[in-house]
Symmetry: C2
Subunit: 206 residues, 2 copies
């Protein structure tokens, strides 16, 4: 269903070809983020977005099939930022168990930073986007865990590990946990990942 190489437009809408239209899309998304920050989710409506962006409502619906798609694209871009930090991430050469920990820490910090910068936006995205819509964004991180050196996990184990980590991070953001950016929280997530991966790869059930 999802295309792989266009940058911007979801679903059966027009693909922008001129620079003008790409700029319009950017303006709309930026306005949407601002509306969200200023008026909260309650005031997040298409008219307000159009007005703030200085474009007609029609222009929004030229590029987005519906209002929700705006959120989806915002999420995609937000997560791309976080994902980018993961790839830039100074992957350790020494083939120890280190990759996990480093990736988790990087991911968590990038996540935390975005939350600080755009709290309401991240909240809305985590709250409104479906699992599938967020999944693609996290696929990168998941792949990282899979390709870890010494611990081959099957698909169920990989699922459990990635969703458990995501669930803890998600909850910390949504519930506004004061320890989101703390050292201990990072440590706990790393510990969780490490202990489970180790036991799971050896299938130490009971």
């Amino acid at each position: 269903m999802a295309s792989m190489n266009e940058q911007v437009v979801p679903e059966q809408r027009v693909i922008p070809r001129q620079q003008r239209s790409l700029a319009t899309v950017d303006v709309i998304l930026e306005a949407a983020a601002q509306v969200l920050e200023i008026t909260g989710e309650a005031g997040f409506n298409t008219n307000a977005i159009a007005e703030r962006a200085g474009v007609g409502i029609g222009s929004i619906y030229r590029y987005f099939p519906d209002k929700h798609a705006i959120l989806v694209e915002m999420g995609r871009r937000e997560m791309a930022r976080v994902g980018a930090e993961l790839t830039i991430d100074p992957g350790p050469k020494a083939g120890s168990l280190a990759p996990d920990r480093q990736a988790i820490r990087t991911f968590l910090r990038a996540f935390g930073e975005r939350t600080r910068a755009r709290r309401v936006v991240v909240l809305a995205l985590l709250g409104q986007l479906s699992a599938g819509e967020l999944q693609a964004a996290f696929a990168q991180a998941e792949a990282g865990m899979a390709s870890r050196s010494g611990t081959p996990l099957d698909r169920i184990q990989l699922f459990v590990l990635s969703r458990a980590l995501l669930g803890a991070m998600r909850a910390a953001v949504l519930e506004d946990a004061d320890f989101l950016l703390s050292q201990q929280f990072e440590d706990e997530l790393v510990l969780l990942s490490r202990t489970y991966a180790s036991a799971a790869s050896r299938r130490l059930y009971d």
Copy 2:
């Protein structure tokens, strides 16, 4: 904010006193569930609910402050069913590590059963209800983990453990994982819980 002893009515709405009104609330909630199952989230609107329930729209708003509150109450009742199974749960007498595992298994199975019975409803609830709205429902399970015999966890560790488990279950339901009711999935969650709790209580960071 939340009251503690009324059974039915959220927020600043009228508390029903006559049997008739209690029945009305039940009828509305059942109709809401049916509308959700039949027409999906798209068709989940107040008019449809009222029509299916055979009551006026006004009657809905007599007992629910807004549409979302209907979902919240549905969630509360759904979770109460799951929670009930937890308390009935044959808690093991021998003070081993068993409580966790048993609770997790019971919880997961009850969860899975409700999902089979009312798939769309559970999906909508997990998708639409906020963390805080679901939190109360899971408080019981969390308390169970806290009062486990030999492993004292601090609040961050408890948060990580409970949200990680919930995150994995939630994702399995939302993403329609085929292994939701499988033995291995249960085993993995128990393993996750056991390995992390053990290491965390001894603070084995790195």
